[in-house]
Every structure is written in C-alpha cells, then in structure tokens.
Amino acid sequence: MTDYLHLAWKNLWRNRRRTVITLAAIALSIMLVQALHNLSNGVYAGMVDSGVRAGSGHIAVYQKGYLESRDETLYFEDRNLVDQIAALDGVEQVLPRLYVPALAQSSRESRGVLLVGVDPGRERLINPFLKTLPEDGMVRSSDSRDAVVGSRLLEELQIKLGQKFVVTAQNLDGTLHSELLRVRGVVSTGMKDIDGSLIMVGRERAGMLSGSTGSVHEVAVILSEPGYSEAVLRRIVRLLGDHPGTEAVKWERAMPNLANAIKLDYASQKFIFLIILLIVTIGVVNTLLMSVMERMREFGVILALGSQARTLRAMILLEALVLGLLAAAIGTLLGSLATWYLVAVGIDLATFVPETLEFGGVVFDPIMRASWNPGWMARIAGYVVGLTLLAALYPAVKAGRITPVEGMRHH
C-alpha cells in the first residue's frame, strides 16, 4: 500500500501548477463553507441566547394549552417548582413570569399593554432587555409599585421617568382592578411591539392586579449550556408530576418564529454550500480526467507490464484520495484560521444594517461572530474527500477499460 501511496503522491505533482490550482480551489471552498457555517452557527447561537433569555428560556413550563392560546386563565401554582428546577444540574437560572393584559393610563393617554410580573432579582441577571437599565432602574421588590416601561409606551403615555400611572386589569372574578405604578426604569429593546407595550412589575404586584397571587403563566429555564436541554428536560418532566396539567417544552416550540427563521436561513445557506461543492466537484472531475487522458499511453504500458485493470483503477482513486485529504487538511486549516478571526473579531455590519434590525423576533446583533463547530467542520472535510473520490470514479473506470494495446497507441 505504501508503494502505491508513494506513486500516487508522485503522480499528483506530475503537473505541479494544475495540482496547486485544484488544491487551492478545493481548499478555499472548504474554508468558505466551514467559515460561513461557523459564522451562521455563531449568529444563530447569539440570537437563540438572546431570544431564550428575553423569552421562553431554553426550556419553558406552561399550563397545557397556554402556549397555543395565550389565554391568561391558563396559569398554574408555583408551589416551590421554581426552586426545585433551579436546584437541577445544568440550570443557570429560572424565571417565573405572570402575564396580565391590562390598560395603562396616564393623565393624558391610555394604551393597551402586556404587564409582565417577574422575580426582579432573577430577571435582572438574565434578561438582555434590562442590560441598559441603570443600577437603580429595576423594580426593587416583587410587591413594590415600581414598573419598568417600554420607551415607546412611555412616549405614547406622555409620562416621564419617576412619574406615576395607573394600570387596570380584569380580575379572575370578572371585576376590574386598578393599581398605581411609578416608572422606575425605561427599556429600549429595538423591537416596536415590545417597546410599545411592555410594563414589567414584580410578580406579586401583578398577581394582586389579576387576582392570581403565587401563580405563573411561564417558567423560563435558562441552562448553563444549551447542550444540556435533553437531560434537564427529562428531569423537569419528572418534577411536573406534582403539577398536573402542566407541560415542559423546548424553546423551538415555545418560540416557533425564531426557530423557523433560523431553519429557513440555514436551509438557504445549505443550498449555497451545495452549489459551491458542486462547482468544485466539476473542477476536480475536469482535472482528474485531463490527468488520466494524457497518461493513457502510460496506463497501457502499466497494463502491459502485468497490472490488473482494478489495480490501475485503485491507483487513480488513490491519487484522488491523496488530493482530497491534502485539500481537506489545508482547507480545514484555513477554515480554522478564518473561524478564529470571526470568533475573536467578527464582522461589523453596523454601517450596513440598522442598529435595531429584528430577525425572528429578536434583535439582530450587527457584530456577527462565529462559534466553533469542529464536528461539522470535520464532516464537511469528509464530504469533500468523498466528493473527490466520486469525481475520480469516471476517470478511473475509463482508464480501467482500455486494453494495453489501445493504451500504448495513445501519443
């Protein structure tokens, strides 16, 4: 085998310029596909991270039916569930939330809003919407009258930071209940819907307003690593045995807009990858076929000396394998360098896209950064080696079909 490898290596460099060009084409396409994929991977991961922290978490617990209907009567009693989930391995934070549709009124304007009751300490640590809030801008306790208000809503209500306003919601028994709140902080997420309707208060205060104290609509579970989701989900499902009528779902089901937007974007990327690899394969077929056609006389001699046709075919396939492996190694090295740059520095699109570009329900970070995915990089390199072998099949079969006399007649 080493003899044939040695021969394949020498044959590969028979036409140095052609081999270098082919190697460069394959290696650059591998680099391009790996780097683009890792960039998308990083961007998607950033969007998912931002999405789950502001939204449903990696895993969310709901009363069955709430996810589909958003019916505020479908809440459930917390009864220590939050603390039980928080104690599980792999869980970074648990965010219980109570959603109350309400009417916000100032002395000048009124607007329909979605009041979110949260555990302020937990939410502050995780929710990216609250990042820009000043130190003293968050709701101070669960039962306080503090409110964090969306910037657009604040403008529409024509009130300012520190001023009071009233929210009115329908209680469980059907009666209207009003609470006086004070603007403690203002958030500007860049998403029109959120900025125009968000009022965040303590969970107890929200419970008092809706008459469902101690209840939640959503328990968003943030994991320390997204890869733990299967294991943690299984453990949460076991805990839900004590909470009949509830269900635990992954973020893909809880936030289908984001999941579908990523799926669609990735599908179009895969199509581009396929076209890149197809073009490269055609180039490799051309190179290998040229290399075989100009050596027909030599193949005739090799067959005359006593080589079996299958040995000749194997020699050509081995040449393609060496070419593919070499290109895969160089391409992966270049792909790694490109990924390293994209992880460390990234691509700043701030001058090309608006600062608050929304994608799949989350704000798109204009600085795109890649994330490493070595398994996928290896898989792409493997595919390319396979494609190179596939490209060599026709030239190999063609060479294996000639007779020694036919081969030696070639000039």
Binding site: L7, I302, L303, L305, G306, S307, Q308, V405
Partner: protein, 229 residues
C-alpha cells in the same frame, strides 16, 4: 514442449467497414533460450505477432500457446497475471514512468508482484550493476540518455525473472554504437541466464545479430532461418 507456439494465427483489425489483415495463418514455434528476431518492413505484422505472444491482444483465429497456456481461452485477469509472472517487455520508446526514478521504474513489475521492498532494491541493484548503469538509480528518465533509459527498461523487463522477453524495435531510437552495445547486452543475458528473447526489427545490422531470423511479409511468414545460425 515448445515455450511459445503459434498455430495458424490470424489477426484482422476492423476499421469501420474495412478489414485489415495484420497476420494471416502464421504458425511458429519458439524453444526456451532462443534469441530470435521477427524481421520485416513496417506493416509486415511484427508488432502484431509480438502483441499476440505477449498476451496483449487476442488472435482473430488460431491458437497462441505460451508456456502451456492457451491464451485464447484465458480471461483478461488471467492474461494480466500471466504477463506479470512470465513475460518481460522492452519497448521502442522505452516507456518508463516519468515521475519514478530509474530504480523505481525497474522495480515496478516487482512491486506489482508484491515483492518486499528490500528484496526489490537488492535485485535491482544487482541488475543495474550487470547492465552497467549502477549509480543512476535515483535519476529520473528525463535525466538519462536514450541508451541508459533502454537499459533501465531492460532491467525492468528482467527484474521479474520472466521466461521470455519481448522487445519491439528495441534499438530503433538509439544510435548505432548504443544499439550495438544493447544488442550485445541482450545476447549476454540470453547466453548467461538462458532468458528467451524475441524481438522485432527492420534494421539489417540488428537482424544480423540474431541466431534465428523470422521474416514476415504482409502478415505471412516468408522465411525462417533456423536456430543453428
């Protein structure tokens, strides 16, 4: 039993709607250890006869039997294996593999025979010394003269210890002095090692060196001056 036997062998090539008879009803016997030349002008059927003896082609009719094996009934795989084990080839234009060194070229048939590298190197080293090209082992064919390249080709043909070496116009591309040297070398190998040589030529100076001269004309045997020459 003769080493090579051609019984009423004909070879007809079809070129579109036309047929060209390259050999017609040729019958020949070669004993082991012969040093014979197939002589004749261009187109007389010398190369066709060598190709048939060397299992590179199949006759249209008749039988070719080499070392007891009827080549007409053998499969392509069997023929390839037979060539590898029993026949050595020397070509007019040397046909060395350009990317391999002289030693690697000479080792090529041994590599196909799966002979271990160390034994191959030793065998080729001895052959190069015998053929007077020792010291050229690491040179590429492009860096060798025509005579040196043909000696490497002889080493390649000899390396596998074949029963018969077939040489198609082996001196046609060489100057007369080198051609003379090469013929003497083949004669010595034939004499000392008993290897059967059958070669083709249209050069009278070369033909005169052979112990047996088989003249072909238009694919037919015109003269066969015997082994006692």
């Amino acid at each position: 039993m003769p080493l090579i036997e051609l019984k009423n062998v004909s070879k007809i090539y079809r070129l579109g709607s036309q047929s060209v008879t390259a050999l017609s009803e040729l019958s020949l016997l070669f004993e082991a250890g012969e040093f014979a030349v197939l002589a004749g002008p261009s187109g007389s059927g010398k190369t066709t006869a060598l190709n048939l003896i060397g299992c590179l082609d199949r006759p249209t009719s008749g039988q070719v039997i080499v070392s007891g094996m009827n080549l007409g009934t053998a499969s392509s795989r069997q023929l390839a294996d037979f060539r590898l084990q029993h026949i050595g080839f020397i070509f007019q234009s040397y046909n060395l593999i350009p990317v391999l060194t002289a030693a690697e070229n000479a080792e090529f048939t041994l590599m196909l025979q799966k002979v271990p590298k160390k034994s191959r190197r030793e065998r080729v080293r001895r052959l190069f010394a015998e053929l007077g090209i020792d010291g050229l082992e690491e040179r590429r064919p492009a860096d060798l003269s025509g005579g040196q390249q043909q000696r490497v080709a002889i080493a390649r043909a000899m390396a596998g210890n074949p029963q018969v070496i077939l040489a198609d116009e082996p001196t046609a591309n060489l100057d007369s002095h080198t051609a003379e040297e090469l013929l003497e070398l083949m004669r010595r190998l034939n004499r000392e090692q008993g290897t059967t040589f059958v070669f083709s030529s249209h050069d009278d100076r070369v033909i005169s060196q052979a112990r047996r001269v088989i003249r072909l004309e238009d694919g037919c045997l015109s003269d066969d001056t015997g082994a006692d020459r």
